[in-house]
C-alpha cells in the first residue's frame, strides 16, 4: 500500500462562542466534527456542501492556518498536526492554498513581480536575476505576459488575479494545493479557462488538489473523489463518478437534485421530481442530535434523532467494515461510504 499524500483522521475544529459581561465561553461552534479522508498524489478531492458546512474550515485547518481542536493530519505519512513555526514554514513549500479572491491575502501596494518573488525570498532561494527569471516563467505558466510583473493587482481582472494567485501558489512547486472557492467569483467563460489551467498544472506537476466549492457541477468536473459535508461532518464520501450516478445519502440526493440543469427539455420532469429541502441549515452552535440532517430529512425515523450515524474511513481494502455497494465493486479505486442509518432502504424505495 502506498502512503496517501495527505491523510486526515478525526479532524475537529470548534470555535468558542462567548457571551455575558465577562465574555465567558458559553458554547462552541461545531465547525468541523471528526472528519476523515485521504488524498493521493496527483489526485483531486472535492469538498462540497452549503454555507456553514465546514468545508473552508477544513481547508484552512489542513494548512494550519487554523489550529485543529482534535484529530490528526498526516502529510506523506508524517504527523503535521502540531508542527512548530519553523517546520510549518518548511511545510508551506509543499502545501499551498488559493482563495476566492487571492488579493485579499496579497499586498495591493506591491507589484505582481514582487508578489510572485516573495516565496523565493522567504525561502532564500536564488539570486535576484534567477528570481526574476522564475517570476517570468511562472507568469508564462499561468498564461500571463511577462509585462504583468511591473503592474499592480488592481490593474487585473478577476480571472487574471486568480491566475496570479495560482502562480504564487505553484511558485515553490508544492505537492498539494487547496483551492478554496477559487473559481466561484468568476464568470463562466473565465471560470472554464482557470479550471483548464488547474487541470494542466495538476497533470504537469503531479499536483494533488483539494477542491472546495459550492458548485457541484464544477466539483464533479475537477474531482477524483468527493466528500459531501453537512453541518461540519462528512455525510457521504465516494469516487466522483459514483457519487453523482448513485448518490446514497438523502442530503446528497437533495443537493444534486437542486442543481439547475442547462437543458430545458426535461425541466417539467425535474420540477415534479425535484427534492426541495424544507427550512434552513440549523445552527452549528447547537447542531441537531443524532443525525444532524434528521430535522430536514423526509426519510428520517424516530431513532435518527438519537443515534449518530458513523462514516467509517471509506477505502474498501483498508477498512472492510465500510459498507461498499456491490455495484461499485470491481471498478478501479471506486469506493463509497455513507453516514445514514437507512440509506439502503431509501435507495431501494426510490428508483
Amino acid at each position: 500500500m502506498n502512503v496517501p499524500l495527505l491523510e486526515v483522521r478525526g479532524l475537529t475544529k470548534h470555535f468558542p462562542v462567548r457571551g455575558g459581561v465577562l465574555l465567558r465561553r458559553i458554547g462552541d461552534v461545531h465547525a468541523v466534527d471528526a472528519v476523515s479522508f485521504s488524498v493521493r498524489r496527483g489526485e483531486t478531492l472535492g469538498l462540497v456542501g452549503e454555507s456553514g458546512c465546514g468545508k473552508s474550515t477544513v481547508g484552512k485547518t489542513l494548512l494550519r492556518l487554523l489550529e485543529p481542536s482534535e484529530g490528526s493530519i498526516f502529510f506523506e505519512g508524517r504527523d503535521i498536526t502540531h508542527l512548530g513555526p519553523a517546520e510549518l514554514r518548511a511545510l508551506r513549500r509543499e502545501m499551498q492554498i488559493v482563495f476566492q479572491d487571492p488579493f485579499e491575502s496579497l499586498n495591493a501596494r506591491h507589484s505582481v513581480g514582487r508578489i510572485l518573488e516573495e516565496p523565493f525570498v522567504i525561502h532564500r532561494m536564488g539570486t535576484a536575476a534567477e528570481r526574476r527569471r522564475w517570476v517570468d516563467e511562472l507568469l508564462e505558466r499561468v498564461g500571463l505576459s511577462s509585462d504583468a510583473a511591473q503592474r499592480y493587482p488592481h490593474e487585473f481582472s478577476g480571472g487574471q488575479r486568480q491566475r496570479i494567485g495560482i502562480a504564487r501558489a505553484i511558485a515553490l512547486r508544492p505537492k498539494l494545493i487547496v483551492c478554496d472557492e477559487a473559481v466561484s467569483a468568476l464568470d463562466v467563460s473565465i471560470q472554464s479557462q482557470v479550471l483548464n489551467l488547474l487541470l494542466d498544472l495538476q497533470r504537469d506537476m503531479n499536483l494533488a488538489l483539494i477542491f472546495i466549492a459550492h458548485d457541484l457541477a464544477v466539483v464533479k468536473h475537477m474531482s477524483d473523489s468527493i466528500a459531501v459535508m453537512y453541518l461540519g461532518q462528512i455525510v457521504e464520501y465516494a469516487s466522483a463518478a459514483d457519487i453523482y450516478s448513485r448518490p446514497r445519502h438523502p442530503y446528497t440526493r437533495a443537493l444534486l437534485s437542486a442543481i439547475p440543469v442547462p437543458d430545458p427539455i426535461d425541466r417539467e420532469v425535474r420540477r415534479r421530481t425535484r427534492i426541495v429541502l424544507e427550512g434552513d441549515v440549523p445552527s452549528p452552535i447547537d447542531p441537531p442530535s443524532g443525525c444532524r440532517f434528521h430535522p430536514r430529512c423526509v426519510h428520517a425515523r424516530p431513532d435518527c434523532a438519537t443515534r449518530v450515524p458513523l462514516l467509517e474511513r471509506a477505502f474498501e481494502e483498508a477498512h472492510p467494515e465500510v459498507r461498499v455497494d456491490a455495484a461499485t465493486r470491481g471498478a478501479p479505486d471506486a469506493f463509497a461510504a455513507v453516514a445514514c442509518h437507512y440509506w439502503q432502504d431509501i435507495n431501494t424505495s426510490i428508483p
Binding site: E50, V188, I190, P264
Partner: protein, 327 residues
Amino acid sequence: MSEVVLSVDALSTEFAVEAGVVRVVDKVSFELTAGATLGIVGESGCGKSVTALSIMGLLPKPAGRVVEGRVLLNGLDLLRLPKDALQQIRGRRISMIFQEPMTALNPVQPIGRQLIETLRLHGDVGDRRAARARGIELLAEVGIPAPDRRLDDYPHQLSGGMRQRVLIAIALACRPEVLIADEPTTALDVTIQAQILALIARLQRERGMAVIFITHDLGVIAETADRVVVMYAGRVVETAGVAALFANPLHPYTRGLIASMPQLQHVPKSRLPTIAGMVPALSALPQGCRFSNRCSHATTICAIEPPLERVDMAHGVACHHWREFGA
C-alpha cells in the same frame, strides 16, 4: 399570441465615467408577455442589471442616464413619466428584487414595518391592525414559518434565504403585473435557491404575473425562462424561446457560453471549451460586432455592426455568420 405587458424598445443607457461617457446598454429591445418568464443572461458587465435599473427608473444619479428608447408597460411609457407618477407605478405595477436582500432591506427597522410601509404607501389596507394582518398573510404566502413572530425581527436575524423571501413579500405586496428579479438566488446555497425558484414559480402561476429573470447562470435560465435574451457588452446578441436557444444556439458567444459550463454528464477532468480572452472595457470595445475580438469565426465583415436578424418568428441573432452554425 399572448398580450405583451412590457415592451422595451431600443433602450440605450450611458454612464459618465472618468474617461468620458460609456454606453452600457445599447439599443436593447425585447417584449415580455403576460404570465411568462423572460430570462436575461450574460456575464459581468453585459448590461443586464443596468437594463433592469433603466426600466425601473432606478439608475444611480447623476452618473447614469437613459439616452434613448421606450419602456412601455401596457402602453404607458415609463421613461416619460413624471417622477411622482413613476413612484406610484413602481412597487404597485412593476417591482424588483435584488441579489443581496440585506442591502435592499433597512437594517434598523423590523421587517414587518418595512412590509407594512409598502402596503400603506401603495395599497388601501385600512388601519394599522389590518395592515399587520395583511403583513402576516404575505409572510405566510412566501413560506416564512411563524410569520406573526417574524414580523418583529430585524433583517440580520434572518438567514439569506429568509431575507430573500421577505424581499419577495415586499415586492409582491401590491400584486404587480411585472416582477424583475435581478440575480435573486446568486448569493444563496443551491438547496435554498431551489426553494426560492419554486416560490417565484408558484407565485407567478397563482397571480398570472410576468417575470424578468436576470442571471449569469444558464442552468437557472433553462429551469425558469420561457424566452431568453442573451446580452454581451451592452447589446442583445441572441434572443429565442428557451428550447430553441439551448437546442440550436446560433451566436458564437451563446454557443461558447453553453459549451464552457461544466456539466454533470461531462467526462470528469476533461478540458472545457473556453471563450478566449475576456470582455473588453466598455471604453475599448472593438468596432462593429463587440464579440469579434474573442470570436474564432470573426472575419473582416465583423467590423460592421451586425443587425439582430430574424432566423424565424421567434429566434433572432446578431451575427454575420450565423448561417454557418445552426443545428
